[in-house]
Symmetry: D2
Subunit: 423 residues, 4 copies
C-alpha cells in the first residue's frame, strides 16, 4: 500500500449523526468548524459516509433495493437532491474543492462491489467491453445492505470496473476511501480487497484506504498492513461503557500491528452532540471521565481518530477534550505502545499501558475499568523505567511527585496518563 | 403436512440428463415410455426440474442474472421457446394434461423465494397491494443460483405471494413440487418453509412437497416430517461409488424417520443412459452389481425412487433392474427398516439391513462394500429371526437352503437381499 | 463376544442402596426375595457392585488410596469382614453357590485395571514371570476412584493378568461381570476392553460382560456389540424426572443397536425402597406414573432391567410394577423397536414408540413428557399399521376400542402402551 | 511473586545432555566451566534437572513406579549414589555450597505434587498431623511420569506439605526452582500453582520460580506474571529447524508479557556438545547460522537463556556465540520488544523484530526463515525510526552504512541484528 499516512489519520465522519442521510450543507458546516477550531491540532479528513448515492435516504436505516444514482457506466454518483453541487455529472468535485480550500482533505465511503441495479440492468463498464452482469460474483452480497453485488476478480472486466471508479474518485479530488463490507469478510473477500488496493494505488491520486466493518480477523493482520492504511478492529462503536470496556482487549491484541502507514482502527469517537440510540439529537452518553478514558486509549494505542459528533453543536468541554496538545502529541509521536498488565487491585480492575515518545519520554496510562474509586501505586522499577524522571499528568497538566512510585487516584471508568522524562 | 403419500413416491426427473435445459418434447417422450413400460410397477411422477422459466438455459450450468419468463405478478412461467404449449399464458396446463392423460402425475421444480428481477423491477403480487421489493429478504440468496431472493415471512405480502404461486400451480394441474435451496438451509429458512408448506396445503390440490438440496440436518427430522413429504438427505447423487458408499451411513441415521407420508430422500437413481461428468450422453458408470446395491439400499430404506436416466434410450438391463416386482414390493410394504450391523468380515466390510413385510415376511439385505469377493454366513438367531423359514433371494429369485444360517457369496460392491417366510 | 444373552438380562444390583458397602447378608436376603417373588418373571442376576474388596467401605463415597483385600498375585478378593464366607481364600465361591442354589445367577463388579497397591508393592502376576509394575499403564487412572491403574496391553504380562482374574472368577462361579471405568473411556481404553473381552470369552465359563459407566460414545456402537453384552448409555440414573426425560433421546439414538446378545443399557431402575440423595433409606421419588413410564421405555427399548431397590422392603405397588407379564413379554419378545415421533400436541410434548412382537402383534407406546394432562388420538394409518386390529393396554389390561384411531388420555409424565393384534 | 529477577535469568541446565541421570560430578564440572568462562557475561544459574531422587535413572527415559529417595516426611531427597555429598540427610547442601563458592547460583527441578509412594505408604507430613494420603488429589497425575500425585489444596495438610518442601530447599541453599507438570496444566492446576508460589515466597530465601512444561496457555499470561518468574511457552525445544521456526510465532504472541520479574521462556539452547535424538554424545544439529538466529530471537525477545550443552566439551565457536557482549546487552537492556512484520520478500519469508535499549539505541533484528539466500532493504521510515542514525551489526561488529535504508544479505535460516544510535 502507498504509505504516506505516517501518523494515524484524524478527522470527522458523518455516520454517527446522520447515518445514510447526510447532506452537502451539513458536511460543509462541519468542515468549516474543523477549519476554524481543530485543524491546527491535526484534525484533517472530512468524510461523507454511506449511501451518498441514495436519494431517499432518511436516517440510519437503509431502504432495501432502493433506486440509486448511477452514471452510464455502472458507477454510483452523488444524489443530486442531497448534494446539489453534483448536478450535471460533476460528482463530488465542487464539495472536494470546498474542503480543500479550507486546508482540509475530503473522504467518501463506498461499498465493496458493483450496484445490483447495474447487474440486473446489465449496464456497461467504462473503458471496457464487458458489462456489470459479467463481473458480479453470484453468491456475494452484503448481509446488511442491498446496494451491491461483490465483484468476481477472476472475470474479465473486474479490474476495469474497479480502476474506473477510483479514477472517477481521483478526478473528483477524493483523498480518503472508507471501503465497507470488506474488513471482516476475509478470507472470502481477500482477492477483491487486493484488487481494490491496487486500483487505489494506481488511480493517480494519494488516497487513504480505510476498511470496514470490524472486527477484522486478527490472523490477517499482516495482510491488512500490506493492502490498506487502516482497518476496523471492532463493530460499530457507540457511547456505551460495555463497548469501551471491550475495546481494551481488542487494542491489546492489535497493538503490535500499529505503525507508520498501517493503523488498526477503534472507530469513531462518539463525543459531543451525537445521535443516541438512533433517536433525537442529544449529547453523548459517555461521562467526561469515560471520554478521557476513550481518548487516552485511542491515543496511546494510536488508533485513527475520527469525530462522530455534530461539530456545529460542539460545546467547550468537548472542544477541550479534542484539543489537548499533550494527548495528541502522544497520539502522533508514541512508539511501541502496548498493554503492560491488567489486574484486580483491591477488588477493582485496572489496566496499564506504556509507550515511548520519540523524544525519549515514556508514557504510562493507567485505567480504572471497575466500578469503585481507587488509589494505586505504580512501581516504576516493575515497568522497567529508570529512576530519576520528572512526571506530568497529561489531562490535568500537573507535575506528579515521584520517587520510585507514582500514586494515582482514579474514579470508576477513569484514566490518567503520565509522561515521564529523564532529568 | 397433507399425508397422502402412503408409500414413497416413484417417478422420473429431468435433472440428471438435461440439467436446466429440458424441453416439453423430451418430457413427453420420457412420460410415454413410463406409461408403456413402468407405470404398472408403480412409477408415477414425471418431474420437470430447475429453470423451466429460463429461455436461454443450455445445460447444467446456470446463466447468472439471466432474464426469466415471468407473468405480471412476479410469478415465473415456462419459457415459451422450450415449452411451446405454455404460450398465451397457459403455463404448464397442457403438459400436465398430457401427463395426466397417460395415467401419470406431473411435477415441477421451484426455487425458494421471489425472482430478483421482480424485486429490482418492483413488480406486483397477485391479490395483494404489496410489491416484490417489500417482501424480499435482504440477506437471503441462494449460494449457487441467482434467480431469487428469499421471502421475509414477517412482511405483509409474503403469504399472499406464496399463496399466489401455488394457486397458479394448482390451476396448471401440478401434483408434485420439488422446492430447492431450502432443505439444508435450516434453521435460517425454517419460517419460509412453514409458509410454503401451508401454502401447498391450502392451494386446493393435492401436491407432494419434496425438499432439496441435501444434506438436510438430521436434528430437524421431526420438523421435516411435519412440513413436507420427502427431503433430501444428501447433496446431488451421481454414479460414483464413493457417493453410494457414503449413502449407507446417511440411510442408517435417517431410517427411523421413514414412514407413511414422510420420506428421507436419497436422490435420483443414475441408471441407464445418463450424462456423465456433465459431458456427452452415455451410460451410467455404475456396474450392474453397484446398481443392484443402490436399488436394494434405496428400497429397503424406502427412499423415494426417481429415475435420472433418459428413458428413451433405456436398455433391457436397466429396465429389468427397475421392474423387479419383489424388490418393489419390499420398497412398498416393508416396515421398521434399519441397519443391523456394519463390520469387517475376513477383511472385507459388510453391512446388513433388516426389515419386515406387512405380510409377516422378513427381509435381510447384505452388502459387500469392500473391494474383494466374500463368502459369509448369516446366523438367523443373531438377527432374532425365528427358525423354520423359507428363503428367497430377490434379485435372482432363487430359493436359498437354510437351517440356522444363510450362506452368501458376494462380489465387491454387490448385494443380495432375502425374504424369509415362516413355513 | 459369546452371544448367549438372547434376551436383555434382568436382575438386581446392590449399588443404588448400598454403594460400595454391601454385605453378604444383604445380598443373600435380596436373592431370597427374588427367588420367591420375581424369578418366575425372568429376574435372574444378583450383582454385587463396586469395592467388595474394600474392608472399610461405608457408603457411596470411596476412601482414597484405601488398603484393599488382595491375594498374592495382585488379584482383589472379597473383604472378609463384609463377606465372611470368603475366608481362607475361598473368594465368592460360597456366595455364588448359594445364589445358584436358588436358581439364580451371580454377578460382580470390577474396575478396569490392576490395583495401584499391587503396582507400588510390585507384586507378582499369576502364571507369569512379570510383575504388576511392568504392566501398569503409567498415565491411565480412573477419574473418580483410586483403586486401579489401567493395564498397558502392549506389555508382556498384561494378558496373563487379565486371564488370571477371569480364571479366578470362573472358579468362584461368577456369571456376570460389570466392568467399570471403561464404557465412556473409549477410544483410550479400546485395546484394554478387547483384552478383557477375550479373557472373558476364554475363561471357561459363560459370563455376561456389562460395561460402565455411561454415556458410551454412540459412534462406537458396532464395537460395543462385538466385545460386550451390554453397555451403559447414560451416567448413573437416579429417581429424578430430568434424568428420565433425558433417557428418551438416548434410547432413540441407540435403539437400532439393540438385539440378541448386545443391549444398550439405560441403568438400574430406582424403584421401591431406595436411597435418596445418598441419605437415609426411603422410597423412590418417582411417582407411580413415572415408574410406569420408565418401565415402559426400558421394556420397549429392551434395555437390560436391573432393580436398584432394597427388595426386602418391597411393597405391593412396586412388586406389581415389576411383575406385569404383558410388559415383560414386550421386553422379551419385541423387535425393531424405535421412536416414531416426538412432537408437541396441544402444547404438551409427546413421544411415540413402536415395536413388533414375534407373534405378529404390534406395540405402540405413547408418553406424555409434558406438564399437563392430555388427550390425543393416534392414527394407525400414520403408523403404517393395518386396519382391523384388536387392542389391549398393557398396564391396565383393558381392551381399547379402535377403528382407525386410538384415543388416549395421559397424565403428565405418564405412559400407555398398547398391543395390537390382527383379528 | 517476589520480583527480584530484573533481567531474564541465564544459566545452565542438565536436562538436554543427561536427562534424568545427571550426577554431582558432572554438575560441578559444568559449574567450574561457567565460573571460569561465562560468569562474567551474566551466566549464573546451575540447575539440576528432573529425578535427582531416582537412584536407578539412566537416561531420558523414566522408570515407571521406581523407588525414590525420600525422607521420613514424604519429601524427596537426592539419590545418594548419584549425589554422594547428600549422604547422612544433608540433601543438596554441599553441592549448593560448592556452586555458591564459585559465585554462581544453584537450582533444582521438582515435580508438582507429593510422591505416590508416600501416598501409598501413607507417610507423614512435616510439622503437621496429616499424612500423604489425606492431601493427594485423587484424579491428578502427570501424564508422562509416575513419581507424584497432585496435591488437593482444599485439604488440611496441603499447605503444610508445600511449605515443608520449600523450607527444606531453602535450608539446602537452593536459588532456583524449576517446577514441572504445571505450566500447561492450567486451569486444572491453578490453585496448586498459587499454593506453590506462596510457599516459595514464604520460604525465607529468594528463589526464582520457573514453570514447565509448555506450551503455557496464553490466556493465562497475567496469572503467570503474578505467580512465577518464568514459564515455558513451548514444549521441549531441540536442535531442529521446525522447532526454531515455530518459536517465532510463540515469541510474537508472548512478547508483550515480557518484563521485569516475569519472563516467557523459550527453553534451553541446544548448543555445543549435546545429545542428539537421545543418542550418543555429539554436536548440535543446528548450523552456526541457525544458532545465531536462535540466540538473536531469544535475546531480543528476552527469553531466559539456559545452556543445554555439555560445557566440558565446549568448543570455541560455541563459546563465542555465548559470549557476544553486544547481544547479551540487548538481552539485558532492551525494552518493548516486538515483531514488526512477517512477510514474503521475493519469495522468501522474512521476519523483523524491533526493540529499544534503555540508552536510547534501537535494535532491529531481521531473520531469513526461508530456504534461499536473500537481499532485502529495510526502510527506517517504515519502522518509525528517525533518520540520522549510526548503525552496527551485532554479530559481525561491522558498521553499516545507512541513509534511509539498511541493505541486508541473509543466508537461509540466518539473522542479522542492528543497533541504531542517534548521532
Amino acid at each position: 500500500m502507498l504509505n504516506f499516512t505516517r501518523t494515524a489519520p484524524m478527522g470527522w465522519n458523518s455516520w454517527d449523526c446522520w447515518g445514510a442521510a447526510v447532506t452537502e450543507d451539513t458536511v460543509k458546516k462541519n468542515a468549516d468548524f474543523i477549519a476554524q477550531n481543530l485543524k491546527q491540532y491535526g484534525w484533517e479528513y472530512v468524510v461523507v459516509d454511506i449511501q451518498w448515492y441514495e436519494p431517499t435516504a432518511e436516517n440510519h436505516e437503509y431502504h432495501p433495493f432502493a433506486e440509486l444514482s448511477m452514471d452510464g457506466h455502472s458507477r454510483l454518483i452523488p444524489a443530486e437532491n442531497r448534494f446539489p453541487s453534483s448536478a450535471d455529472g460533476k460528482g463530488f468535485t465542487a464539495l472536494a474543492d470546498y474542503i480543500h480550500s479550507l486546508g482540509l482533505k475530503f473522504g467518501i465511503h463506498i461499498m465493496r462491489g458493483i450496484p445490483r441495479q447495474a447487474v440486473h440492468r446489465n449496464t456497461t463498464i467504462a473503458d471496457s467491453d464487458k458489462t456489470a452482469r459479467m463481473i458480479a460474483k453470484t453468491d456475494s452480497i452484503c448481509k446488511w445492505n442491498t446496494d451491491m453485488y461483490g465483484v468476481d476478480t477472476t472475470k474479465d472486466g473486474a479490474k476495469a470496473y474497479y480502476d474506473s471508479i477510483f479514477k472517477l474518485y481521483a478526478e473528483w479530488g477524493v483523498d480518503f476511501i472508507k471501503c465497507d463490507d470488506i474488513a471482516r469478510e476475509l478470507p472470502e473477500c481477500e482477492e477483491e480487497l487486493k484488487m481494490i488496493s491496487e486500483a487505489v494505488n494506481n488511480c493517480g491520486r494519494e488516497m487513504v484506504l480505510s476498511l470496514s466493518p470490524g472486527p477484522a480477523p486478527l490472523e490477517k493482520a499482516e495482510f491488512f498492513k500490506q493492502v490498506s492504511n487502516m482497518w476496523r478492529i471492532t463493530d460499530d462503536f457507540w457511547d456505551k461503557w460495555e463497548l469501551l470496556y471491550g475495546m481494551f482487549e481488542r487494542a491489546e491484541k492489535w497493538s503490535v500491528h500499529t505503525g507508520a502507514g498501517h493503523w488498526p482502527d477503534a472507530d469513531m469517537l462518539p463525543v459531543g452532540a451525537i445521535l443516541q440510540d438512533y433517536g433525537p439529537d442529544g449529547k453523548t452518553k459517555f461521562t467526561e471521565e469515560e471520554q478521557k478514558t476513550m481518548i487516552t486509549l485511542w491515543s496511546i494505542f494510536r488508533s485513527p481518530l475520527f469525530i462522530g459528533g455534530d461539530l456545529t453543536k460542539c460545546d467547550d468541554i468537548t472542544l477541550k477534550l479534542l484539543t489537548n496538545s499533550k494527548i495528541l502529541a502522544m497520539h502522533r509521536n508514541s512508539r511501541d505502545s502496548h498493554q503492560v498488565w491488567r489486574r484486580e487491585i483491591n477488588g477493582v480492575e485496572h489496566i496499564l499501558w506504556k509507550a515511548n515518545n520519540i523524544d525519549g519520554g515514556i508514557y504510562v496510562a493507567i485505567f480504572n475499568v471497575g466500578e469503585a474509586d481507587s488509589k494505586i501505586e505504580i512501581n516504576l522499577r516493575d515497568l522497567e523505567i529508570p529512576a530519576g524522571q520528572s512526571c506530568t499528568e497529561l489531562w490535568s497538566g500537573l507535575k506528579a511527585p515521584i520517587n520510585e512510585k507514582i500514586s494515582v487516584r482514579l474514579a470508576p471508568h477513569g484514566a490518567k496518563v503520565f509522561k515521564l522524562i529523564n532529568n
